[in-house]
Symmetry: C2
Subunit: 344 residues, 2 copies
């Protein structure tokens, strides 16, 4: 249900809120000493995601400390491949690793019981909604099928996800099935998050930017459109943010193509272009995360440029990508104060 | 001097040539067995660049095998930091390494004798022009100041060049000096390449895509503009291609901002946008390099889409980034035949 007090929901409904609401991607993370403390009590990163006590705690930490307008479920986009039994592991300092899948493996891939597998994550969502202040929006999320597929094919992250791009050229039918089954799983997962208490969900397409024109439409737009349509039909009150990192000029057609309620903008999106995109609906972004390390005048100037260009339209203030472990929590305080002092 | 027979020079002068001329970024490279053979005779990668006999040989190999419309000097963008005595090394399987520079180091940085240091490279250019068929354009090149600076600051490549981005926020004055001195060195270097026989030069800004709006203008556009203006004033017959990889929507202002004769397009640039950009002047690109691995129908379709959208305007057919070691030389033959059979 839509609460008029949840500012982010107002923006997602197309309204201009002044000052704009603010949250930060990866706001529950290693830059916070309290996060590192909780993290140290978990056996591994997935253990943290799958233990509601701990996942609730780390999700709440930045809300308590900074009073963001949204809490985002603490989890990872790779819980979906994990539900597909791809043996997902987070190796300290090396990033995620999973069993790479080939044509044959895709052929044999069957839909897992998403709700059963991700029960602890859904339990976290329920507890969060119960524990959060009424005015705080609760965001769920998942990875976009293309981004999830890049990890499933390569078995790890790569500088340009060449393995998945090459696989898609060489085995178009198998790749289509892979995107399709990931989309099916994501629909179930997002609907379940909404039922558990998420007000809105974000679909992260971290690797959209390395796709060619034709592939962007086929791999980044169409599967996300399917998810948006299905989630919206199932749960009309939910709102959906789609974030295609590095999509550049392709963002022009991305909102209409995906029909998402809002689009996320990475820090490389020029503000003149962002203002054009905002004419068609709400945008979220797009401060360079490194400014949370740099601080000072560079930070203030970066914030002011965004507020000046985008603050008088439907805007959710955010970074252009996740906050980094090197960020100074004091800079987060500074950012929130500055954004909240904006008067239009 | 401008030769009417050199098709790439015609395109760079704004003419539509049918079929479009073609060359491939990194066309002298590890996908060729003859390259690997010559490479094995060199002590290291820089040794290959600094030994005219070997550098001429590897530059000529793809011309002999495929008859490309351009030969590009075999060298590396990091010869400029090497001229600045930054101790550049290419470590097998690890990418380039150099001594990272800090604020103090930048303060002490002085212009080296570029011509003296890069004498063997210039000797290679001279010998190439003498040995190349008259109809083959000879391209020189350098890295753009921003991209060179990212390596000089970090001391190696990183996934998102965060060290240089952060340094620029924290030490704006020092960073400005660094860009400026790299630009000075690049001007001297490019003019010397032209004097040695290069018809045109390409400026590679491989890391332009991770810059924010404001930084794109300050770090990617302005320093390249300075180089273009200075080179053009010194050698009016030379033509200049600027390639800002990942620049996305920013390409809209990049040509005018840099005043380059042609702009390179990476494979993520949508063809509709590319066609818009082509209205303002010649473009170069933009096939996904992985299609040179995949081959087959995917390759044919990719080529045809570019020819259909861009083939009837000033176009230099190329990849959207360098050809990879995994590419099949037979796919290069296939590409050239297909491009050359285009009748408009």
């Amino acid at each position: 249900m839509d609460s008029p007090e949840r500012k982010i929901m107002s923006v997602l409904n197309g309204k201009t809120v002044t000052p704009p609401p603010v949250w930060l991607m990866r706001q529950a993370g290693r830059y916070l000493p309290e996060y590192r403390q909780t993290r140290a009590t978990a056996k591994g990163f997935l253990d943290l995601c799958y233990t509601p006590d701990k996942a609730v705690e780390v999700t709440m930490q930045p809300i308590r400390r900074f009073g963001f307008d949204a809490a985002i479920l603490f989890s990872d986009i790779l819980v979906i491949p994990d539900a597909f039994d791809r043996n997902v592991k987070f190796v300290e300092g090396e990033g995620p690793q999973l069993d790479p899948i080939d044509e044959d493996g895709i052929d044999k891939l069957i839909m897992p019981d998403i709700i059963q597998h991700l029960k602890p994550v859904l339990e976290t969502v329920t507890r969060l909604r119960a524990g959060l202040p009424a005015e705080t929006t609760l965001l769920g999320f998942c990875g976009a099928p293309w981004t999830i597929a890049t990890y499933m094919i390569a078995g790890h992250g790569t500088p340009d996800q060449a393995p998945a791009r090459l696989f898609a050229y060489q085995h178009p039918k198998a790749f289509e099935k892979l995107l399709s089954i990931i989309a099916d799983a994501s629909i179930e997962y997002l609907v379940a998050q909404i039922d558990a208490g998420a007000d809105a969900v974000q679909i992260f397409d971290s690797w959209a930017g390395i796709l060619g024109d034709h592939e962007f439409d086929a791999f980044a737009v169409k599967p996300v459109r399917r998810i948006v349509d299905a989630v919206r039909t199932a749960r009309p009150s939910a709102r959906i943010i789609a974030f295609a990192k590095g999509a550049g000029y392709n963002l022009k057609s991305y909102r209409q193509g995906t029909s998402a309620d809002a689009i996320g903008l990475d820090w490389s999106v020029p503000l003149g272009f962002a203002a054009e995109l905002q004419k068609d609906g709400p945008v979220q972004g797009n401060l360079d995360p490194l400014l949370m390390v740099a601080g000072g005048k560079a930070l203030d100037d970066g914030i002011d440029r965004i507020l000046t260009r985008l603050g008088n339209g439907p805007l959710i203030f955010n970074l252009g990508h996740g906050i980094t472990p090197q960020a100074d929590p004091d800079n987060v305080t500074r950012l929130i104060e500055r954004v909240r002092s904006f008067r239009g």
